[in-house]
């Protein structure tokens, strides 16, 4: 469905006005719902101090590392499943059991194995992204039309050229869909795990930032952190993914 930007903005403004009226009416304590201007001021202050940005970079760093490691593993598993029936059965079984498990649910097991630290946080994110990617990449490889395989055979492409120039791009719609799911799950898993872990290593991520602000009853700071979480989600999902889609699937006539 086509989205109308002015319409969306109008609703956003209405929401902010309702928020501001409620906050100023005194019906709700400012410790629960501070004025929007105070939240924005806190957001600006935290930006300038650098704590909000450093938290954002820590979280994004974990998510990017998790997605890259998960994608690498998923590609290997999907490629082996495509080649060997036994691996396909193993992969199907693992996916059926582990895909529905939320990242946070496996956290206790991971803590037992790896303790509390960066590695465990990374493993939670890898778990969150691996299974949707395996499902989508496997589906992508299996759904490459026979016509494309015939092109490879007719023009005698080498197997590496066939994989990188035909199989991979032909599977891209599925891979892209898997990446979108992987991002959404990884971002949520990272923030949730940070709230449980607190600081890992040199500094905490955005989840920790929000959690810490709540503990110290810095409600405007807490809302500023949540605002940043929403902004990052918006930039990646409505900005980055839309851009990639416009430059690939839409140009290819597959969106």
């Amino acid at each position: 469905m086509k989205r109308s930007l002015p319409g969306t903005l109008l609703w956003f403004v209405i929401l902010l006005v309702v928020w501001e009226i409620t906050a100023r009416s005194g019906l709700v304590s400012e410790l629960v719902l501070p004025s929007i201007t105070v939240v924005f001021a806190s957001f600006g202050g935290e930006l300038i101090s650098g704590s909000l940005l450093s938290g954002t970079f820590v979280s994004l760093g974990f998510v990017v590392a998790g997605i890259l490691s998960g994608a690498f593993t998923a590609f290997i598993l999907a490629a082996l499943s495509f080649q060997f029936a036994a691996v396909k059965r193993l992969s199907s079984m693992l996916t059926a059991v582990l895909h529905p498990l939320p990242g946070i649910a496996v956290l206790p097991i991971l803590i037992l194995f790896f303790g509390i630290g960066r590695l465990t946080l990374l493993m939670v994110i890898i778990h969150s992204v691996l299974w949707p990617l395996v499902v989508n990449i496997t589906a992508g490889f299996s759904s490459v039309p026979a016509v494309y395989q015939k092109i490879g055979a007719n023009y005698a492409l080498k197997s590496s050229a066939f994989f990188f120039r035909i199989m991979l791009p032909a599977s891209f719609p599925h891979i892209f869909s898997g990446l979108k799911t992987a991002w959404a799950r990884a971002w949520r898993a990272a923030v949730s795990a940070e709230m449980i872990f607190g600081i890992t290593g040199s500094g905490g991520g955005l989840g920790w930032f929000v959690f810490q602000k709540r503990i110290f009853m810095d409600t405007p700071g807490m809302y500023a952190g949540i605002l940043m979480l929403a902004l990052i989600g918006l930039i990646v999902e409505s900005g980055l993914f839309h851009l990639i889609e416009a430059e690939t699937l839409k140009k290819w006539g597959e969106a």
Binding site: V147, P169, A170, G253
Partner: protein
Amino acid sequence: MPENSIKINSIGFSYQQASDIRKPLFCKFNMELPASRVSVILGPSGCGKTTLLNLINGLLIPDKGEIIGASGNTSVLFQEPRLLPWRTVRRNIEIVLNKHMGSEQSRATAEYYLQLVGLVDSADFFPSQLSGGMRQRVAIARAFAYPADTILMDEPFQALDLGLKINLTNLFTKLWVEDRRTSIFVTHDINEAILLGDEIFVFSDERPVQIIEKITNPEPHAERSLESRNSMEIEKKLYRLLS
């Protein structure tokens, strides 16, 4: 370009499905497709024309006999353009060339054939941005650009309207006279057979397949027209054979 013809020596072939109790498609089948000529295989749908192309192409292996001269080095033009949607027009042609030549030569070759089919201005478009006729022109350019000894065509203009069909038939002739490569054109359209074929092999409608007639068209490609006396005589003959 190859000097040798393609010889099909006493081949036998059937699809070997358990449910298929019919006679084999090919049995002791012989045929010689002359070098540097366009051989048209004309026959009703389902008579085995595409199977023969796949046998020549090496995608299918005959149960008996042998095919000499094709040596697996063939370029195929299909009924649908079969372009890769994620590659631009230029890169759709280059993908089949990279294995055979350097990237600069691939680019120059692609450019040359794009010029011949009149699509230089659309070189950086994706297939989804082209019309059906333009896509088939890219596919023709790709088939000719590929350094194969033989070009195989499986009813490439069948799904197109008459104007486009005439347009692309002329385009094929224009490209073909450039290097006169051995070409095999499968169709069930009599007009295409007359305009393109130097030799027209008419296949039977029964199993195993038989060549019921071989007609040679003496008219040079550049002078061919459906209104000429020669074409009309061939047309009459073909109608009689196929009806």
